[in-house]
């Protein structure tokens, strides 16, 4: 009896590949409004700005053309944050001062993209029955 193979054969593509993988699965469908709020002179604003960049790519924007994306630039040395208002009435806020882009994207996919998938599944179930 041989031991079944587990793990990966190749090397990991690194951080960029991980981000690209997450961006691919981002879905804005359940989101009604996104507000990126940041102070450009804050020390830890870099990752929020990168997150904003990735969330505004054409492919992601095409997933929901009705979604309103707002940028709120403040000058009060407050921590950066990203808030998502969902069509279901829920609101998610990322307090992103200590989060990296990859963490934010994975969190988004875990909590919000997942909702889009479940909506689709429910619709398909209703269509079938």
């Amino acid at each position: 009896m041989s031991i079944p193979f587990s793990g990966v054969l190749g090397l990991s593509g690194g951080l960029t590949a991980a981000i690209a993988k997450q961006v691919k699965s981002v879905n804005l469908k359940p989101v009604k409004r996104v507000v990126f709020k940041f102070d450009p002179f804050h020390d830890s604003v870099e990752q929020t700005r990168y997150f904003m960049y990735y969330m505004n790519t054409e492919k992601v924007a095409k997933t929901n053309l009705q979604c309103i994306v707002k940028t709120q630039i403040v000058c009060d040395r407050s921590d950066p944050s990203v808030s998502f208002s969902l069509a279901s009435g829920e609101e998610f806020v990322f307090k992103s001062a200590n989060l990296s882009v990859l963490e934010m994207l994975t969190l988004y996919n875990k909590h919000i993209t997942q909702e889009a998938i479940s909506i689709n599944l429910r619709r398909n179930y209703l269509l079938l029955h």
């Binding site: 450009p40 002179f41 990168y50 054409e58 630039i73 000058c75």
Partner: protein
């Protein structure tokens, strides 16, 4: 046998071999990475220091790590004359232009970028993109050093000869891919809220006219108040004269 070894092997002299490289270019600057076996041998031949010695033990691990000098080699950027020229140009722009806006840039397609440039050009503004390193090179040691931290992520710059802040905010609002973060207006660093307040102030000439008008109104008010009693007296006297002339006639 011994004689054979002595004659044949030990006495044999090494004759340098000639290798002709005519017809192919010698790669001196970036030689081909060696074969694995050879790379191994080269790595083994790297100088090894006595890390067990007293000096090495007294040093922290971060100092004795052999990886650091290797990483440092990649960290330092080679001097690029073209970058230096760009930095010089950017420094000149910062010194001469009256309005400089710093934008956060989201991905924008070529068509949208072109139309954005056209909109800005109609107002005499110019959209420029400079790399982090060039900005650092240009602004280090100048009064504008604070703005270097705005270039940590994707960003763009807008330059204008006149401080048309209101127009700039209006145009950029219509381009969703860009967001104004801050600006330098007539040598002063302004935040976004301060820029909006500045835009509401209006033109400098109209503000001056307003100031003159308020100063004039105070003066003319004082004059009218001082002459009010005399004017009243005159009108009253005139009325009395008119009444008397009517009675006499």
């Amino acid at each position: 046998m011994a004689g054979l070894i002595k004659e044949g092997l030990l006495r044999s002299t090494w004759i340098p071999g000639l290798q002709f490289v005519r017809g192919r270019k010698v790669n001196v600057q970036r030689p081909r990475p060696p074969h694995y076996e050879r790379a191994l041998a080269l790595a083994v031949l790297q100088p090894q220091y006595d890390w067990d010695s007293k000096v090495a033990n007294s040093l922290p691990k971060s100092e004795t790590c052999m990886k650091i000098p290797e990483i440092e080699k990649y960290k330092t950027r080679p001097d690029n004359p073209l970058e230096r020229i760009f930095a010089k140009e950017l420094k000149e722009l910062f010194e001469t232009k009256k309005l400089i806006a710093f934008l956060h840039a989201n991905p924008i397609c070529g068509e949208d970028l072109f139309s954005a440039r056209v909109k800005l050009k109609k107002e005499g503004m110019k959209l420029e993109v400079y790399s982090k390193n060039i900005v650092k090179m240009a602004l280090n040691g100048t009064p504008y050093e604070t703005v270097i931290q705005l270039f940590v992520a994707h960003s763009a710059l807008i330059f204008c000869d006149e401080p048309k802040v209101g127009k700039l905010i209006k145009i950029v609002k219509k381009i969703p891919q860009y967001a104004i973060m801050a600006g330098i207006v007539e040598g002063r660093l302004l935040s976004m809220t301060q820029m909006q307040a500045y835009a509401e102030l209006g033109d400098l000439d109209s503000a001056r006219a307003q100031l003159v008008a308020t100063l004039n109104s105070a003066g003319s008010g004082l004059v009218s108040r001082l002459t009010q009693a005399q004017n009243n007296l005159i009108t009253n006297l005139n009325q009395i004269i008119e009444q008397k002339t009517k009675v006499d006639s």
